[in-house]
């Protein structure tokens, strides 16, 4: 699997993502600078976390107009798997590839801690190897990760089974106390209707090595690998 990790000015999760991807067999991963214009040779595209363009204007708003984003739009339309982590999720929302937006954490705190997320469905290339209802232990690190969408958008996310991750308790319950940032319905990650674009605030790439306290992020990348190696393309 050939992976591209996009690099915007201000990205800071790019090297972590590269390291995590390269820890898997049969994977090559390279950084792609935001001024590049093509992503055609890649099976998988990752938009990493960080503070692209200093979060000026709104998080992800300026990165959305980087030259590489035309190629991301094209890849998304052709069914290539695209994963946006943290700031990458914000960029995908700003680009209109995912619905809704991410606003300031309701408690105004920058949350940098480990959290449990419940996998809501295994019906996606990103969660296909995870049973629905499983809990993953993943780190979060964000000040603007409160997922917000209008009522009708939330309803559509339900109807199309697009919510992949929710912040949960150790018993798998979705409670106010298990919500670190005030996200609507404890949403931690969503996919698009075609299910080939996934954005999440937690950092699976920082949970791929025992040394870092959790390896629960690996199963997300294993799902992606499995999907790509099985030759499945998301139907359009």
């Amino acid at each position: 699997m050939r992976c591209a990790v996009l690099q915007f000015p201000g990205s800071n999760g790019d090297i972590d993502a590269l390291g995590a991807l390269r820890s898997f067999q049969n994977v090559t991963a390279e950084l792609v600078w935001h001024q590049e214009k093509s992503l055609e040779s890649f099976d998988f595209i990752l938009l990493p976390g960080g503070f692209s363009y200093g979060d000026y204007l709104r998080c992800g708003a300026i990165a959305r107009f980087s030259p590489i984003m035309h190629a991301v739009q094209k890849a998304a339309a052709s069914g290539t798997l695209i994963l946006g982590i943290c700031n990458g999720f914000q960029i995908l929302c700003e680009a209109g590839l995912l619905p809704g937006t991410l606003i300031r954490n309701r408690n105004l705190l920058f949350r940098c801690e480990e959290r449990l997320v419940r996998v809501e469905t295994s019906d996606s290339p990103f969660t296909k190897k995870i049973s629905s209802g499983s809990l993953l232990h993943l780190p979060i690190a964000h000040g603007e990760g409160c997922y917000f969408a209008r009522e009708e958008t939330l309803q559509e996310l339900h109807d199309k089974d697009q919510v992949l991750l929710r912040y949960a308790t150790s018993k798998g319950e979705i409670t106010k106390a298990s919500n670190p940032n005030g996200s609507c319905e404890n949403i931690a990650g969503i996919c698009n209707q075609k299910r080939n674009v996934f954005g999440l605030m937690p950092h699976p790439e920082r949970a791929c090595d025992e040394l870092l306290g959790s390896t629960d992020g690996r199963i997300i990348f294993e799902s992606i690998l499995d999907h790509v190696h099985s030759g499945a393309r998301t139907s359009l």
């Binding site: 204007l57 606003i103 300031r104």
Partner: protein, 76 residues
């Protein structure tokens, strides 16, 4: 042409910075604050564009219609 764009969070969107500032105003001794909403103001000096192009810039870059409303004023 000088243009000012005022961007405000929509009423349905929680503005935690506004809520925190309302509390601070109370603590400062200014009582009776019903609500505080914090937005931003952008001033442009620009030539050779139509008003519709400016509105497009507001919709696509300067504001996010999912959570914000904007007001465009041509100053001179």
């Amino acid at each position: 042409m000088k243009v000012r764009i005022t961007i405000m969070p929509q009423a349905a969107v929680l503005d935690p910075a506004g809520v925190a500032t309302a509390h601070a105003l109370e603590h400062m001794g200014l009582h009776g604050v019903r609500s505080v909403r914090i937005g931003k103001s952008i001033e442009l000096d620009i030539e050779g564009v139509t008003e519709e192009e400016l509105h497009q810039a507001c919709r696509e870059l300067l504001s996010n219609p999912v959570m914000e409303d904007y007001r465009l004023e041509i100053l001179s």
